[in-house]
Symmetry: C2
Subunit: 226 residues, 2 copies
DNA sequence: TTTGGTATAATTGTATACAATCATACCAAC
DNA sequence: GTTGGTATGATTGTATACAATTATACCAAA
């Protein structure tokens, strides 16, 4: 339901609850709120100029996202992202992006394939010039198209969540020189999908995630998450 | 409050919000609330004897679970579970339970292995006697132990969610005669984990989910979800 | 009949008030 | 000094009041 995401976007933009939710989420993922830190409803509310009600609703959502833990009648505590979590997510994504690529072979549209090709072409351009911001945006677009092309709302939703979750560390990995390599891997995945070769597409998408993770380990990008 | 007794009774177990959340979730998964049906805060609140506040908080969580869709300033609409969703979930679970079993080889404790064995043994007993209720409970326990033994909070959380999500259809599949077969598959998975054979454990857990799904298809259990 | 607009009702969004629970500090008994 | 209990304050849980938005009904103009 692309409609759902659109509406969600509208909600986030115009409702206080959505703004609070996004703000706190950003602050946790960006490290402003440290691990185990207690979030108090009135304090957050005052900081953002709203009452407790939208803050509480945002808390309930953040709990389901796993970003905070709510202990009844006690408080809400930040559950910071750990190096182990990132490892787990990349291994989980490895399996799921593989499945996604497999399904895409049967369900991708010509328009989606064309857009993928355009994204990859553009990324080659920006990679050669070291335009990191554009690379990040194009990486986003490639994966988003891939997720939408698998014809599974369940899988699409799940992968988008994880993709968002590791946003910060992904920026770093792209900036650390993997951008060009990553884009070549994208190209191979796309070609396997275009050839309607599910086994190959799955294996390549699989390996794409493992490579991304190993690059992060090699570059020492995970050391700050402990 | 006209039904103070009911409220009091449940407050011991859950917060009002938790109660509302579970109740609505049950009602959606059980089909009481039909697809696209509108859920109104006051109506639900009256029905359960609570005010709008806990109902709203429950709605926000249900939205993130994907069980309802909230359109700002309009309402909350049920997003019923479809046959396609069930298929997707079982295919996703196939990959993830495989990963879980693989990780369990390295991380399971002796106590967990022993409890697994006990569960499987008990399940043999109840399977032979057609005790469906106990079978369902033991199936739950097996998978819960497996999820907890993989040493990944991320994966554990995810798999528990999906396990809950397909609760209703799982009951049916166990009642349709697959209970005993399923338990044998559990036993093989456990043995592979005990032998510390990750490839075998992954493959068996993988196939366990595929088999469960194919059984549902063969028995026509998914036809009611369209 | 159709169209457009306005008043009214219904519903959600937010803020606040009140109740229940938990944390802390202090004091008395030993 | 330690223990136990109570009072006090802080914080969350819930209910309600109010504001904003949307849906509906009705009427007038074409």
């Amino acid at each position: 339901m692309e409609n759902r995401d659109l509406k969600q976007e509208v909600t986030d933009k115009y409702s206080l609850r959505g703004r609070v939710f996004n703000r706190i989420r950003e602050d946790i993922l960006n490290g402003k709120y440290k691990d185990h830190e207690e979030l108090k409803e009135v304090a957050i509310g005052n900081e953002l100029g709203v009452s407790r009600t939208p803050v509480r609703e945002a808390f309930r959502q953040l709990e389901l996202e796993g970003l905070i833990q709510i202990i009844p009648n006690k408080g809400a505590y930040v559950t910071g992202i750990k190096a182990k979590d990132i490892e787990d997510i990349y291994m989980i994504r490895s399996k799921l992006e593989g499945l996604c690529a497999r399904w895409a072979c049967d369900n991708i549209t010509d328009e989606q394939l064309e857009e993928m090709e355009e994204v990859i072409y553009l990324a080659e351009f920006h990679a050669a010039r070291g335009h990191m911001e554009q690379m990040a945006e194009l990486d986003n677009r490639f994966h988003t198209i891939l997720y939408e092309s698998c014809n599974s709302k369940m899988l699409e939703h799940l992968l988008k969540d994880y993709h968002q979750y590791v946003w910060r560390v992904r920026q770093q990995t792209l900036s650390s020189g993997r951008g060009a390599v990553s884009n070549v891997e994208h190209k191979y995945i796309m070609e396997a999908i275009r050839e309607k070769n599910p086994d190959k597409a799955e294996e390549l998408a699989n390996q794409h995630m493992v490579n991304a993770y190993e690059n992060m380990v090699d570059k020492g990008l995970l050391e700050m998450y402990d």
